[in-house]
Amino acid sequence: MASFIAQSSEYLPILLKGLWLTIAVTVLALCLSTVPGLTWALLRTSGVPALATPTRIFVELVRGIPILVILFYIYFVMPEIGLDLTAFQAGVIGLALTYSCYIGETFRAGIEAVDRGQIEAAKSIGMKRPLMMRRVILPQAFRIVLPPYANNLVMLLKDSSQVSVISVAELTMQGKMLASSTFNNTTIFTLVALLYLCLTIPLNLLMRQLELKLGKAR
């Protein structure tokens, strides 16, 4: 235990650098996936086949490919068609693309879970679809969606470790490099795991609080 603490103080500064990058990748990917995710959901529930069907095919395709393969594709294949991206950019875009589809499905489920009676009430006072979406369906769907959305966020945070395969030096990558140079696998990977938990546990607690608060207002 004493040696764990001693070694930790040596490794932590390096791992913290990785942690910041993990947070950066996660926050950027979340921002870049939420609005597209909402867009996919709105297109898929639009009731217009010309919009819904292509979106559905796109979402199903992306969801059917492992994140690793998508990352490889963006980082190694895109340069061949002239799109040169840094590893960091490719990682953020890959995660954002994948998670826009996951989040899109979450939003879609939320929109579809709004009580039919609400839609009829909105129609019965003459609301057209866009107004109904904005005033009636989405405000209620967001409440329904908050817990699964938070779950997406935690999954995204953990999946950000995948960008290490295209050499983004985030937390997992820093751990791996440290471990291979010091052979101190136990200490380092324990620290890496603990650092992830330092992010995911508060996130989960925060979301539970929010859920309780929203649950009361319902």
Partner: protein, 243 residues
């Protein structure tokens, strides 16, 4: 005001409306009664395009009801609806529920709409509940807010789809009382209901539906006191003497 001409509707193979002809005049209160599955709610929901019909014609004023057409939104602002399960917006207060339509659909001025909404809520006896959310209101109170919401659109007619069927018995009266006061002011009302007493006292005429057709029709007192048709007699017997 509202006219049905040979209206047919099917759900798949099942024909629920088999040629309905009827007319509701301005200021009239017409009750639709009949056993469940007779098509009365469906008929009502065809008027504001919540259901489509396949044959015949429904007109509101001079406008033909076409659920897929552009004019349907206009019809819905002219003909309000009150639902069995209230369908208030749960994330908005009673006042906001009532203001929603005039403010966001009709685009009226907020101050005016607010004053009108407050007056309407006062009228239905809920002045004290203006800022309450639906989940803190009883069923009867929620339905009265829903009626205020319908009135806030200043409709030419109101459709009531079994407005008291989801209420605890002790709350039925307060909702019927509000509806009675509307009838006294000659609001045009088409009411699907099982409240035979209400129909007898308030309605101008009654349509008895069974199996997708109008079996009997006429002045409310006449049809409900002295039904001519055997199916009407049988239905009324079962509704008024359930045991």
């Amino acid at each position: 005001m509202i006219r049905f001409e040979n209206v047919h509707k099917s759900f798949g193979q099942h024909e629920v409306l088999k040629g309905i002809d009827a007319e509701i005049g301005k200021g009239e209160v017409v009750c639709l009664i009949g056993p469940s599955g007779s098509g009365k709610s469906t008929l009502l929901r065809c008027v504001n395009g919540l259901e489509t019909y396949q044959k015949g014609r429904i007109t509101v004023g001079d406008t033909v009801v076409d659920a897929a057409g552009r004019s349907i939104h206009d019809i819905r602002t002219r003909v309000s609806m009150v639902f069995q399960r209230f369908n208030l917006f749960p994330n908005r207060t009673a006042l906001e529920n009532v203001m929603e339509g005039p403010l966001f659909v009709l685009g009226e001025r907020r101050a005016e709409v607010r004053a009108r909404a407050e007056a309407l809520l006062t009228r239905v006896g809920l002045a004290a509940k203006i800022d309450a959310y639906p989940n803190s209101l009883s069923g009867g109170q929620q339905q009265r807010v829903a009626i205020a919401r319908a009135l806030a659109m200043r409709p030419e007619a109101i459709l009531f789809d079994e407005p008291t069927s989801a209420l605890d018995p002790e709350m039925v009266g307060e909702v019927l009382q509000v509806m009675r006061s509307l009838a006294e002011e000659h609001m045009t009302m088409l009411v699907v209901t099982h409240e035979i007493h209400f129909a007898r006292e308030v309605a101008d005429s009654v349509l008895f539906l069974d199996g997708g057709t109008i079996v009997e029709r006429g002045p409310a007192k006449e049809v409900l006191r002295h039904p001519k048709h055997e199916r009407t007699q049988d239905f009324l017997r079962r509704v008024t003497h359930p045991v």
